[in-house]
Amino acid sequence: MVKVDKPVLIAFCCSAALILGGSFFFPNFLSIQYLLQQLHIASFLGLVAAGAMVVILLGQIDLSVPWTLTAAAIASTAIANYAKGVTAEILAIVVGLLVGVIVGLLNGFGAAFVRVHSMIWTLAMNFVVLGACVFYTGGFQPPGEPLQVMRFLGVGRSILNIPNAIFVWLGVSIIMIFFLRRTKYGRYIYAIGNSEKATYLSGVKTRPILFLAFVIAGVCNAIAGMMLAGYAKQAYQAMGEPYLMPAIASVVLGGTKIQGGSGTYIGTVAGTIFVTLIGSILSVMQMPEAGRQVIYGVVIVIMLLTYGRQERVHA
């Protein structure tokens, strides 16, 4: 018996409605090619949203997304200047992931030991990473170019002409579902989101879990950054900026509570697809930027009003 909760159903239905409704005006909406392209674009956001979700489930938030993503892209593309061949390929991936892990550890340190609100700690982290990127690149176009492996993951198509990025997203999603549902660490994340105090009193060492969650987020951002650099054929300043808010929106539209402790991964996938589709349809309609922003915001409010409401305050 598969139980589907309301937000997931609504997000998927709205996505389907968007495609069907759009196909009246643009018949090619129903083509496999168009749908694959949408999933391809969604996979970058999907990776970021996966990381964001783990942190949000804890009741924390990661605002260091934009520059973690950018830094991973800049660091891994820079490898092309220092090494060649297979070594360079492996090194690029390792260095990119390392950036994600380091930022994740520092974020986790803030949440676990300094105990500053993660909203402000990760924000400061974002500034620091931004500063490091600007210092390294001199504020110019980052040196180097994406390596083969990043191109392969970002734009390559190997099986049935399906973009590899979708497989990466699928792979990360399967790991994520397994992690959140089947491992004790995944369950601890939900527990901490509900009450860290209670989780601690149940004998769980909560600090390592905080670190783990932020490292997962950092790694997800790093993977997205490297793939995006491959997709755009370059790393560029502030390439991560357009991913922070949509990622949070995807997670929340998928039914994850922003206070933490409750939400399904499949909901985040639904949210990501929905957010991507709205953006795509508005740009196909050649809606000016102003109208696009307004509609985007209004749609999020309406969706949340239908299922994201909190309990009324009572005794």
């Binding site: 500063g131 102003a290 915001g297 009003l305």
Partner: protein
């Protein structure tokens, strides 16, 4: 006056600490400044911090209720864009224009309040979404940077009056005419009560919803002051000024000693935080830090300042106090 200094210090230690930090950075800044302290340099210093001070006050209103307002930047951009259309021409036009801009800010804040209070959606997500809408409206008013803002008004409000920077007088006026009276009303006290414990405030018979509405609406108004002031500085409107202010305002609210979990702090703390942050930024310039390293230093200083907050954990006897 039968209150001892000790009691006063204990009740206001957060403001006092923040004020000390501001004083230290202020003195350091002007001793590094090649032209030292004069009315001219003081005015420039004040002008640089004023916009952030208004936006931080706005952020503080919502943070006091244990919420967070991600739409302060967009409201600033919206009011700045609107100002570049309406705040020019004859004095009566300018006055009416300012009125319109303030009205727009109030309206934006009111909408946030409605969605949070009646819609019962979490503040962070609400303002994320409404902020997108306000950015859209700002872009609609001002698709590209430009417009015009009364130069006469700009000259008057960004210079000094009897040696005191006008911008500081504006900030002080806002505190004395809006914040202090507001804080003394039931509505204003209600904001603190809601932030400390919404359930308890409700059970004590406070009108929780009205207080929250007031906080968000006032936040909108204060953010529009920020938009107006930045317009006076640049004499143009720009729909893309917003995003950076949203996040920096949170930083300065925290730096000033307002707690993100609500109920502690205030507008005065937020102003102190804003000026401290701006002073540190400008200090880097005069301290001869390489321009490219400045953002890195800014980030590290912000982190160091936050880590000071972690010091309280050292004296903690019981691990469970972590989650109080």
């Amino acid at each position: 006056m039968n209150m001892s200094f000790g009691l006063f210090a204990r009740q206001n230690y957060r403001v006092l600490i923040a004020l000390c930090i501001l004083l230290v950075t202020f003195v350091a800044f002007f001793s590094l400044h090649p032209r030292h302290l004069s009315v001219y340099t003081l005015t420039i210093w004040a002008n640089q911090g004023t916009c952030l001070a208004f936006v931080s006050m706005s952020q503080a209103m919502v943070v006091l209720t244990a919420g967070i307002d991600l739409s302060v930047g967009p409201i600033l951009a919206l009011s700045n864009s609107l100002a570049s259309e309406v705040v020019n021409g004859s004095p009566s036009h300018v006055a009416f224009g300012i009125f319109l801009v303030m009205l727009a800010g109030l309206a934006c804040g009111f909408i946030n309040g409605l969605v949070v209070v009646i819609g019962r959606i979490q503040p962070i997500v609400t303002t994320l979404a409404t902020g997108t809408v306000y950015t859209g409206v700002a872009l609609f008013i001002r698709p590209t940077t430009g417009g015009q803002i009364s130069e006469g008004l700009s000259d008057a409000l960004t210079s000094n009056l009897y040696g005191i920077p006008t911008s500081l007088l504006l900030v002080a006026g806002t505190i004395l005419l809006i914040w202090v009276p507001f804080r003394r009303t039931n509505l204003g006290r209600g904001i603190y009560a809601v932030g400390s414990s919404e359930g308890a405030a409700y059970m004590s018979g406070l009108d929780v919803n009205r207080s929250k509405m007031a906080a968000y609406t006032l936040a909108g108004l204060l953010a529009s002051f920020g938009g107006l002031f930045i317009g006076l500085q640049t004499l143009t409107g720009d729909a893309m000024t917003g995003p950076s202010y949203t996040l920096i305002s949170i930083a300065s609210v925290v730096l000033g000693g307002t707690s993100l979990s609500g109920g502690i702090g205030g507008a005065l703390e937020a102003i102190i935080g804003a000026f401290t942050l701006r002073t540190i930024n400008s200090m880097m310039f005069f301290a001869g830090a390489p321009p490219l390293a400045q953002p890195l230093f800014e980030g590290l200083i912000l982190m160091a300042a936050l880590s000071l907050g972690g010091l309280r954990l050292i004296g903690m006897r019981n691990r469970l106090d972590l989650w109080q």
